[in-house]
Symmetry: C2
Subunit: 230 residues, 2 copies
DNA sequence: CGACGGCTTGATCCGAGTCAATCCTGGTGG
DNA sequence: CCACCAGGATTGACTCGGATCAAGCCGTCG
């Protein structure tokens, strides 16, 4: 539970109230709510932000760093549902419990607001209600696209789709900086780490990409990747 | 586009305005809206209700029958995103375009309302806004559970999960009536029709289920299925 | 009764998983 | 400044689960 974690004063987190307004892409009612009512918290790499099954009392927004959300099977198999980069809202659930575990992939800062406060606001301010629906609808769209990937695409197609997705989210279109490990990518794409690695070298051999260092990928032949995408 | 279809007077559809109130499980603002403003339409087996990419001007609710929603890859590989049974709302998109194709699996009747009408209502009536969010959030939950299935479960686990899911949606807990074909199940579970068939036979051999006729499945050993589920 | 569509079963294949070494490389301490 | 170390990444050899290809079977409907 979150307050417990904060109360416990764990060394890997620090809380700071009333942060400077978050510089977001578009200003929205929800962004304003985060700016006005949010408390920012720092999480070290691999620190848990919330666990599956915990009460979903808070909603989060990434200020810096990257967050992964995932589900586990009883024997430890992991499926990452999404990566959350700067500006992304995560942890918003209509239900009372979180349905994923959230962890910081790198040292990260997130802003937190009480879900009950947002819901109360939404009852009066339709812009907030619309934003909450919009966030959930956006999550749904990404999940649905990912269903097609996991259900019907082969390894090469999965990796190509992933690279294009990451390229679309970063600022530089042709250079993809990966904040996450090969294991994280594998658990997102429903593959193993070895297959991800092999597929990346294969794409490099085919001159579709270049990998100067393992966490940086240059898209050399976007049309080849696009062909694999659909 | 829908009005075209209705206007075309296709033999496989008929429209009837102001239907008797839909008997739903719980009464909600959204259910009331469907009852008051809905037009019911009949679709024959395999008729398309809307196509991926079409304008999402309408929201649908199943009165009778079953509907599948799916995405296609360019080479025809299909991923079914969900099956919609009596009482389910489908086709509600925050975006302006449908992201799936919807088809009737069996002869079906659905009620339709204009999305713009619901959105306008939602701006004034917070109960409607909450219901719209709730429908999308419910879709998201199902999609997220399905991600785990498609990304990390083996064939037996997928089929067991599917049977338990269908059992939970029907009225009779131990007898599952399947409105969809093996091919539909395969495309929902990210398998082939042969693997679905083999896995069902295998579960029958293990005395977990019984298949008196192909579209009816008796759950004989629920704990065995539950063990495969997580 | 026959034919067709949906389903099952069998034989074989192949893409991704598994198991097992290396190979970086970025960080640490001497 | 350099040698070492540990964790992440790559590569190779082999396995295996599910896909593919190919018959049949069954039940429903004309």
């Amino acid at each position: 539970m979150l307050m417990q974690k904060i109360g416990a004063g764990a060394a890997d987190k620090s809380i700071r109230l009333a942060p400077q307004p978050v510089p977001g892409p578009a200003s929205s009612a929800l962004a304003d709510a985060f700016a006005l009512m949010g408390a920012s918290i720092r999480f070290d790499r691999n620190a848990e932000i919330y666990g599956e099954g915990e009460a979903s009392d808070y909603v989060y927004k990434v200020v810096s760093g990257t967050v992964r959300t995932y589900k586990l099977l009883s024997d430890g198999r992991r499926q990452i549902g999404g990566f959350h980069l700067k500006g992304d809202v995560f942890g918003l659930e209509a239900a009372t419990e979180h349905r994923f575990t959230a962890e910081a992939i790198a040292n990260s800062v997130v802003v937190v607001v009480k879900k009950s406060a947002l819901v109360a606001l939404a009852a009066r301010d339709h812009d907030i209600a619309r934003d909450l629906w919009g966030v959930t609808a956006g999550d749904l769209e990404r999940a649905q696209d990912h269903l097609l990937l996991l259900g019907r695409k082969n390894a090469q197609e999965r990796v190509a789709t992933f690279l294009l997705e990451m390229a679309g989210r970063g600022s530089t279109e042709a250079v993809v900086e990966l904040p996450m490990s090969r294991q994280d990518i594998a658990d997102y794409l429903g593959l193993t780490i070895e297959t991800v690695s092999r597929t990346l070298t294969q794409l490099e051999d085919e001159a579709a990409i270049e990998i100067p260092v393992s966490r940086r990928i240059l898209l050399r032949n976007r049309s080849a990747l696009n062909r694999l995408n659909a």
